[in-house]
Structure formats: C-alpha cells, structure tokens
Symmetry: D2
Amino acid sequence: MATDAQQACFEAGIKFGSLYHQFAGTPVSPSSTRSLEAAMAESIENQPFCESVTVAIRDDRVADAIDHENDYTELTGSLMDVEMRIEHEGVTVHTRMTMTDGYPLMEIVSIGDD
Amino acid sequence: MATDAQQACFEAGIKFGSLYHQFAGTPVSPSSTRSLEAAMAESIENQPFCESVTVAIRDDRVADAIDHENDYTELTGSLMDVEMRIEHEGVTVHTRMTMTDGYPLMEIVSIGDD
Amino acid sequence: MATDAQQACFEAGIKFGSLYHQFAGTPVSPSSTRSLEAAMAESIENQPFCESVTVAIRDDRVADAIDHENDYTELTGSLMDVEMRIEHEGVTVHTRMTMTDGYPLMEIVSIGDD
Amino acid sequence: MATDAQQACFEAGIKFGSLYHQFAGTPVSPSSTRSLEAAMAESIENQPFCESVTVAIRDDRVADAIDHENDYTELTGSLMDVEMRIEHEGVTVHTRMTMTDGYPLMEIVSIGDD
C-alpha cells in the first residue's frame, strides 16, 4: 500500500525517534562525548535498513550547558547534530537533525534511488 | 523535496521509535499495565502531528513473562500492541505494531487524505 | 558484610536512579502530567523492597518550560518532586528528590526500624 | 542523619539504577559491544562520587540472544557484568551486577575506608 519511498521514510523516522529517546538524558561531559557518539551511531546502525549514522556531540555546547555546581549535563537534542542514511528496497533516504531557530529539527534531506 | 505523504510517514516513524525506546525497559506487572498504557499514549500524543495513540499492554503476556523469582518484568515490544494516527499537511497515516511471526513489527497500515 | 541499613540505602538508591533515567526525556505537557505521575509511581513500585512512590510533576514548571514553538517539553528532574519508601529486612528508608539551590537533589530523609 | 557509609551506599545504588535504565533497550550486536561498554562506563563516571565503572557486555550471550530473523538484540541485564567503585566522604563502596541463579543481581561487594 505504501510506496517504497514512503516505507523508507517511515523507517528513517523510526531510527531518529529511537536514537533520540534511547539516549536523551545520558550524563555527558566534554571528556565523554567521543565514546557516546560512537555508541549512539553503532547501536542504531544495528537496526534494519540503517546504513550509516553520524553523531556529533558539540563539546562547546556541552561545556556551556554545564554549570558551576556539576561537572556534567544530560544529553538533549540541542547538544548534537545527527545525520543518517537509510536504504530500503532501492530507495535511499538521507536525514539529519540540526539546530534550527533554536530547536533541534529532524528532517528529510533527500530521497532517491540508490 | 519530500512529498507530504513521505513527510507524514517520516513523522509517523519518529513517533514509533520514540515510544518504543522511551519506555522499553520500564518495570511492569499486571497491576501496573493500565497506568503505563495511559502514560505512553498521552506522552507521545504531545509530539507534533500525532493525533492519536493507543497502547494495549497484554496482561496475559506480562504474566507469562514474569517468573517465580520476581513479581514484574521489563517492557518490550512483544508485550504490547500499538496503533497511531499521524496527520501532516492533510495526509493521515495509520500505523501499528503487532506481533508478526514472533516479532513486534512496526508497519504502515494506510496513508490517505484527511 | 553490609548492614541491613546500608543494604536498604543501596536499594533506595537503585530505585531513584531507575525512576530518573527510565523516564527522563519523556514528552510532557500540563495535560499529560497526571498519567505520567501514575505510571512512574506504579512502575517503580514493582521493584523489590519498594513500598511506596509518590511523583508530583509540577504543572506550573512544565508550563514555564514550554516555549511558544512547541506544546510540550521533555521531563527532567527540575520539573518534579519525588518521595519513596523502601523497606528491606526490617529497615525503612525514606528518600526524596526536590529542587535545592536550583538543582534536583536526591537525598535520604530518614532511616529507621519499621 | 544517615552515616557516611549509608550515604555512600545510597549513591552507589543511584549509579546502578541510572546505568541500567538509561541503557536497557539499546540495540546491540557483537560488532557494537565495545563502543557501548565504553559509553556506559564513561557516562556514569560523570555522576558525583562515581570513581570507576567497568561494563563487560558478553559477546557470546549477545550472539545467543540474536535469532535468525534479526542481526541484533536489545540490551538487558542478562547480557552484561558491571563493577563500580563509589567514593563518598572517605568511604569506598564496591558494587557489581552479575548473573546469579539466572537473574542479574546488583549487590554491594564491600564497604570500607579509603
């Protein structure tokens, strides 16, 4: 009923919601950003049709979010940029999450044949 | 670039991934299924374009998953059925998750004009 | 090796960490606070030795955390007060989380015999 | 009111509950165990009084938990062993989680002066 492209977009959305809500709230500091990025990318790449995930947690934003009382903060969408490539039945969907007008926006970048 | 229907499918996927990974692992027993169902539905309905969420945690499956040493288990996809309705730019997408061949399968049921 | 009171404090800590990190990041609005409070309390009460959990998500703080672009925010410790009673081997531990000096502080309120 | 040792045990429990419920449900396969272990340990070490965390996700148990339909499973306590060292006001608490009688058991190993 759904086209291959619609199905690929559905799968792409699943991966984004999964990544965000699995890891939101994780304690993070500038010294632990690299390991968290790697784990987020590799864990979501396990999911079906998920060919590539890149997570960039911004050290400067993490540092800014840490106040004088603590040495860490909790991961939220505003601290990271994410890109993903989903492939499903010959359709490739690129998605990303970046800060847009002060909010982390999940969006489709392109949909195309392989 | 994406059509309204493709965008609606992307949004529908986001909601499914969010619901699953926010609540997977929650301690659950037959006495707490109703409150967890309500919280899951109402929390995800807060998300943009999400018009309706129905969560049915199966008491019998929860009871079967609890062994003699504990009084509870952890929520997984195999313990619940979920239906959602997403509306985006005049397109309505119905999705569901049900056990299929022994696995919880997230799928698009229909895509249509309002 | 650990005394009953030390063991009870360990168990009390487990419940607090579980509650916080299971539910942090959940989408919440003033219209969904009651169902989320109920689910949080009932789910954690499933855990061993956890006799009572009370969660009060503050509607006013939730409303303040919501900006004009969205209709919801994500649950964090600053939006709620929590009280718990853990009982282990005849020792009762009361704990709570409240905002203290601008931070959500998890603390032991009392330890005593039943 | 609580002794330093009781307070240290409370803090030790918080870390265990946090680690478990932040990461339970994460997609994992034998190819992504190392990055997930590192992220779990480094993120929880950010928390106050948490001096050291070691997470060992057992590749053989992960492989056994993966069935023929999927290439991954979801992280649960049965797939990993965890050790932690918490230090609070001169008291050191060692804790661990290992499979005991078929269940992942969180326990205090020792409590002592530094």
